[in-house]
């Protein structure tokens, strides 16, 4: 589904990703771990098409298409979803309005009929239950005045509504208490089907206790320095990142 080859990217002339190779197949969950500044979030943003990042070398093929040539909204319509590490506030736009617009935009591009208000509400109710959010949530402005945990759950709600093929979660587990973490994990697991893939960018192992990854990759200094099964995450948790840094041979972090 997703094939990343020798990907180099940076921001304002500064290299952050220095040759990422990664293959993700349908039905798989990949965890991308690494210390702060290793380039995890950059990878997520580059895949979603954030305009601040420039790709200098390499390629990304998504479902046979050159992902890097697609504008961000095309990627989204083709099923690429990014759960933001810091979700953005849009004052005055209700969550319902925003979500309905997004769902219908994606549906139209996929040749499906737009949902009317009633159908959308029906779908929304079902998905709200999944992330254990109440109805009042949808009439509030997008992310405005939301707590950190609410923002993250709102991302999962959007993911559940949009049913992406490739979901990229950028530290969605950071800053969550244990209950919220379980809700988020539950949301991720519910998306797991043989047709979908998930790229889980995380700093900590703890979400992996609830979401079992097929593969774990460790990113240091803009490169994947180690890949393995789910046990690799546990090893990291026990030994910390220094161990792998030394093991990888003194690769300097891209960002201090």
């Amino acid at each position: 589904m997703l094939s990343i080859r020798y990907l180099h990217a940076g921001v304002e002339g500064k290299d952050i990703l220095r040759g990422i190779d990664l293959e993700v197949k349908a039905g798989e969950i990949h965890a991308v771990m690494g210390p702060n500044g290793s380039g995890k979030s950059t990878l997520a943003q580059v895949l979603a098409g954030h305009p601040a990042f420039a790709v200098t070398r390499g390629e990304v093929v998504y479902e046979g298409r050159n992902l890097l040539e697609m504008p961000p909204e095309e990627r989204a319509r083709a099923g690429v979803f990014l759960a933001f590490q810091y979700p953005i506030e849009i004052p005055g736009v209700s969550n319902a309005q925003f979500l309905k617009a997004a769902v219908n935009e994606v549906r139209t591009r996929q040749g499906l009929d737009e949902l009317d208000a009633m159908e959308f509400l029906e779908l929304l109710r079902e998905k709200l239950a999944l992330v254990e959010m109440d109805q009042s949530f949808v009439s509030r402005a997008v992310n405005e005045g939301f707590s950190g945990g609410e923002k993250k759950r709102n991302e999962i709600l959007q993911m559940a509504l949009l049913q992406p093929k490739l979901a990229i979660l950028d530290e969605t587990d950071s800053g969550l208490d244990i209950d919220a973490l379980k809700i988020v994990a539950n949301g991720i697991n519910s998306l797991r089907t043989p047709d979908n893939a998930i790229l889980l960018v995380t700093h900590y192992q703890r979400i992996l206790s609830y979401v079992t990854p097929d593969r774990v990759h460790v990113l240091v200094g803009g490169r994947i320095v180690r890949s393995g099964g789910k046990d690799l995450a546990l090893e990291l948790e026990a030994k910390g990142y220094d161990w792998i840094r030394e093991d990888a041979g003194a690769v300097q972090p891209a960002r201090a």
Partner: protein, 485 residues
């Protein structure tokens, strides 16, 4: 900002839809203004003596003003001098019969209004909205007049009101905006040709939206209309106003006056969607919109709300105000103003607190794009007797691109120590992060900007009647939110 700027350009540079001209024979007076023209206008309208006298007093005062300071110079707008002698002060479509009966109205006029989305004929007229259609200097038709009359509500053109209800006109005309008020209002008082009149009797709640649609057609003419709305004790009325004009390279002057009187316990909601021709991308042509709008809460507990969506005109100079005379009266001003290309707007409000416990709210949202320049100018004045008066003002500006400007000029004068006045102001740009977030959810740049702009204006849009909220939203190139949330 490049993607944002491009998107915004696409969004706001759509063609002006209402720029067509109706080819109709007009009865017009030659350009220029002197006492004879004032007398001629009054004679054409077969006005009673008091009206002519009033016009002449205004005209003489205007001449004095012209010799003294002339046009007000304090607004943050620049324009070439207006030649008042080159303007046609009266232009009316020639009609065989007196206006008022629909079957006698020239089909070309009906067609014009239908093209503007204002069908006047019995079969097609808008449900729930009574319309007074004003074409250049005269009202061509008023719908639902009879139905409203059953409730004692008078809704007709100003000219008809002068004929049929001279006592009401004489009593209230100039009671809120005196003919000496300001240069443009004084000019209007001398030469106004038509407009709408509305009287809602005691305790009556007007069951439908009343609306006036103003259309300027004739080249070289100015439109000087006057609207007077009187809501008697305990009554309620909601009023809508829309405006368009043909696309022309010359500027045209529109100097209107609106007076609202709300007696004890009465409520008036006045909403405007102003879409006069704004000029082209280089700033050629467009309407000079110099308008005086003011309401008086004359009795205890009266309430007046102004809601305006200003997207048109080359120059907008307009400060819908409320005089809060009655104790416990309430004044509100909700405004969205959008300037693009070379448009200039200096707009805001005045809230004059005279009575005790009077309350006012001001919410102003300014959107500047292209080379547009706009100023919010607002006065909150608390007189010595206005104990416990309260005001809250919020002025937000949204800049699209980096060639436009936004300014906020609040004036606050408080003469009573128990009053509380709050002023908040903010200026923001649409951020790349907001756009990216929307696009990542599949929205196109256009839809994303629309949605963000719409969200920015929401506090104002929610105060518009439904029919207008849709139009206003469309005007900003945005789709109104779905039926949920």
């Amino acid at each position: 900002m490049s993607t944002t700027a491009k998107t915004v350009e696409a969004l706001v540079n759509r063609e002006y839809e209402y720029g067509f001209v109706t080819d109709i024979e007009a009865d017009q007076v030659p350009p220029g203004l002197d006492e004879d023209v004032v007398r001629l206008i009054s004679a054409k309208k077969r006005e009673p003596e008091f009206m002519l006298e009033w016009r002449l007093r205004a005209f003489r005062h205007w001449l004095k003003m012209g010799l003294a300071a002339g046009e007000p110079k304090w607004a943050n707008v620049t324009y070439a001098p207006i030649d008042y002698q080159s303007i046609v002060y009266y232009s009316a479509p020639k009609q065989t019969a007196a206006p008022g009966r629909l079957d006698e109205v020239d089909p070309k006029l009906l067609e014009t209004f239908e093209k503007l989305g204002i069908p006047l004929s019995e079969q097609k007229r808008l449900t729930g909205v009574a319309v007074d259609a004003v074409f250049d200097s005269v009202s061509v038709a008023t719908t639902f007049k009879e139905k409203l009359a059953e409730l004692g509500i008078v809704f007709c053109s100003f000219s008809e009101a002068v004929q049929n209800h001279p006592d009401l006109v004489e009593k209230y005309l100039g009671s809120v905006v005196p003919y000496t008020d300001n240069f443009f209002a004084t000019l209007n008082s001398a030469v106004f040709s038509d407009g709408s009149f509305c009287y809602v009797p005691k305790g009556v709640r007007c069951p439908m939206e009343l609306s006036t649609y103003f259309r300027i057609n004739t080249a070289g003419s100015g439109q000087f209309e006057r609207t007077l709305i009187v809501a008697d004790e305990g009554s309620y009325v909601s009023y809508l106003e829309g405006c368009t004009a043909p696309r022309r390279d010359e500027n045209q002057l529109h100097a209107a006056v609106v007076e609202l009187v709300a007696l004890e316990g009465a409520q008036i909601r006045y909403s405007t969607v102003q879409n006069w021709y704004a000029g082209d991308r280089e700033g050629r042509g467009g309407i000079y919109n110099f308008v005086t709008k003011r309401g008086k809460c004359a009795g205890r507990g009266a309430k007046i709300s102004w809601t305006q969506v200003e997207t048109g005109s080359a120059i907008t100079w307009k400060y819908p105000s409320v005089i809060l005379q009655g104790d416990d009266s309430v004044g509100e001003f909700y405004s969205v103003a959008l300037v693009n290309n070379h448009q200039q707007a200096d707009t805001g409000t005045k809230m004059i607190h005279i009575g005790k416990n009077t309350r006012s709210t001001i919410i102003s949202k300014g959107i500047s794009a292209g080379h547009g320049n706009q100023t919010y100018r607002g006065l909150v004045k608390v007189r010595p007797r206005a104990s416990s008066a309260r005001n809250r003002t919020q002025c937000d500006s949204l800049l699209l691109g980096d060639r436009c400007g936004a300014h906020t000029v609040p004036y606050i004068e408080v003469a009573n120590a128990t009053a509380s006045v709050e002023h908040e102001a903010s200026t923001a740009k649409i951020s790349e992060e907001q756009l990216f977030y929307c696009k990542q959810r599949g929205l196109s740049s256009e839809n994303a900007v629309s949605m963000i702009v719409n969200g920015f204006c929401k506090e104002v849009f929610k105060n518009l009647p439904m029919e207008f909220a849709v139009e206003a939203s469309k005007l900003l190139g945005v789709s109104l939110e779905g039926g949920v949330g």
